[in-house]
């Protein structure tokens, strides 16, 4: 690694105070880089100025807009643009790392405003949208300024090549793998337990697929239990469960990181029945690192992460019968379960921040070679240079 300490500016498009995959990724990356001795400043929109970490700069209050089938809390507009410009001008950065620079947000604004080494990370994976024909030509010159593009998964890379006709290096999301491998098994979660973590009220997380499969599973494995963790109100879901099966469910609510590690090392099978909208599947990486045997739907991101079934079992997405079949097979076959968990654990280690951050950093090194520091693009334009020469 480079011995020189770099000054890195990271731009987060989404509201810093709402939880999300991109925000977590940026937080972990920023903290990792800081602990490696670099200077990091994160520019992010935030509704509340109060409890921000010292390295976060508030760009203003985010607004909620519908985007890609969900509500995105982002920020743009003239006021935000001038804040972004100010941040770049004062920051004296060696390079900028923009996250999700292709959506209307401060990331895109920073990409417009800055000139110099810039790296873009693309997180989202979605099907080709018609609208891209209209906005593609506008985005193109901006995206072109990025000296390197990173996609967090093969699915995200395909989205990028589809939409913007440019390629990217695939570097996965990071997890603190060592943290997850140190969980202690908890007796109340052991036995024939199926685990599920996530915002279970969202339909795309696919808890309903698991609910449909459960009667079939219970017929073959009478002592099966389901433990669900994640934020949400369980009463609504409990109503939809067959009363005879209701006692098999435990809702834990939101659990701590330590509990998550314990959870993964206790349960028999971790099930991820997501029906789509997933680009990487960080929870699967955590489950693998925690030593759980994983069963997941065969959506592209999961298929890729599980090595087409090498590191975990796959079932046809949204097909509860297939899910039941796969789970029953595994519940009956202790040996296969241990074997899957074992290869999965080493797969999980490959997502450790130590490895991932090193890969990201080598992209940093490559994009700063031969370049100057990050400046405002308007300062380098020929007429501004011409005008400022006149001033002198």
């Amino acid at each position: 690694m480079l011995t020189r300490c770099l000054k890195i500016g990271i731009v987060c498009p989404y509201s810093w105070d709402t939880p999300g995959g991109v925000q977590n990724h940026i937080r972990d990356l920023a903290e990792f880089l800081i602990s490696a001795g670099h200077e990091v400043s994160v520019l992010a929109p935030a509704a509340d100025d109060g409890n921000l970490s010292s390295y976060v700069v508030n760009a203003g209050k985010p607004i909620a807009i519908p985007y890609n089938g969900a509500v995105a809390r982002v920020l743009f507009g003239p006021v935000a643009f001038s804040r972004v410009r100010q941040w770049i001008a004062n920051g004296d950065f060696d390079l900028l790392h923009l996250h999700e620079p292709a959506i209307p947000s401060i990331s895109l604004l920073a990409c417009w405003a800055a000139d110099g080494p810039m790296i873009g990370t693309f997180h989202a994976a979605s099907k080709r949208q018609k609208i891209i024909f209209a906005i593609g030509p506008i985005l193109e010159p901006a995206i072109e300024k990025l000296s390197a593009r990173i996609a967090v998964s093969e699915a995200a890379r395909l989205t990028l090549t589809d939409h913007l006709d440019t390629d990217a290096v695939v570097i996965p999301n990071g997890i603190f793998a060592s943290h997850y491998s140190q969980g202690t098994p908890q007796p109340q979660w052991q036995g024939n337990t199926i685990g599920f973590i996530g915002r279970y009220e969202e339909p795309r997380k696919g808890l309903s697929v698991l609910l449909e499969a459960l009667p079939m599973i219970a017929r073959f494995a009478p002592d099966v239990k389901v433990v669900v963790a994640g934020p949400g109100d369980p009463s609504e879901v409990q109503k939809s469960i067959d009363p005879q099966l209701r006692h098999r469910f435990t809702f834990l609510g939101k659990i701590s990181e330590q509990d998550k590690a314990n959870f993964m090392s206790s349960i028999a099978i971790y099930v991820a029945p997501n029906t789509g909208g997933e680009s990487f599947g960080i929870i699967l990486a955590e489950a693998l690192a925690g030593g759980a045997c994983v069963v997941a739907s065969d959506i592209p991101a999961f298929d890729d992460l599980l090595g087409h079934g090498e590191f975990g079992a796959l079932f046809a997405s949204e097909d509860s019968t297939d899910l039941a079949k796969v789970v029953i097979d595994l519940l009956r076959d202790q040996e296969k379960r241990t074997q899957l968990a074992q290869v999965g654990r080493s797969r999980g280690q490959s997502f450790d921040w130590d490895i991932v951050a090193k890969q990201i950093f080598s992209v940093y090194e490559m994009s700063i070679v031969g370049s100057e520091k990050v400046k405002l693009a308007s300062d380098t334009r020929s007429w501004s240079r011409f005008l400022s020469k006149d001033d002198k």
């Binding site: 072109e144 300024k145 000296s147 390629d167 490559m366 031969g370």
Partner: protein
Amino acid sequence: MTDWALVVFFVLITIWYLTFLATRLDRLHHRVENSWANLDVLLQKRAAVALEIAHSDIADPASSLLLTGAAYQARDADIQSRSAAESGLSGTLGLLLEDSRHLTTAADSALLTELSALTDKIRVAIALHKDAVTRTQMVRKKLIVRIFRLAGTAPLPVTYEFESDVL
């Protein structure tokens, strides 16, 4: 009177667009230069490591001879024959590594880890360079760029046909 204003407006817009395109193209050319510089440095380093491997105990005399030859060829190749020479070196290194999975001494494995770290970086550098080249070629194909000779005298970047999976 309004006619004149319109013409002036149109001319200004055209000038703005042309400078915008020229800046964009200039930036792309810089990107190509930088990404090539990166790749070049990494490839040189790899050739040096290959030579060291050739002189170490990892390589038997025959493969040492092959490797030394390939490494020197990669170092001395001019731009046209560069990619062929580098691919040749990749092949020779691949052959040797295939055989020596069961290596032992610490110094040797240090060399090999250095090589695999370099290979990872080269893979990224190739992807970056390729992308920069294709983007530049795409913009330079635009009619307006060719009519106004916005690229100036900068040579059209050529794609280097590296095998994307070196080693």
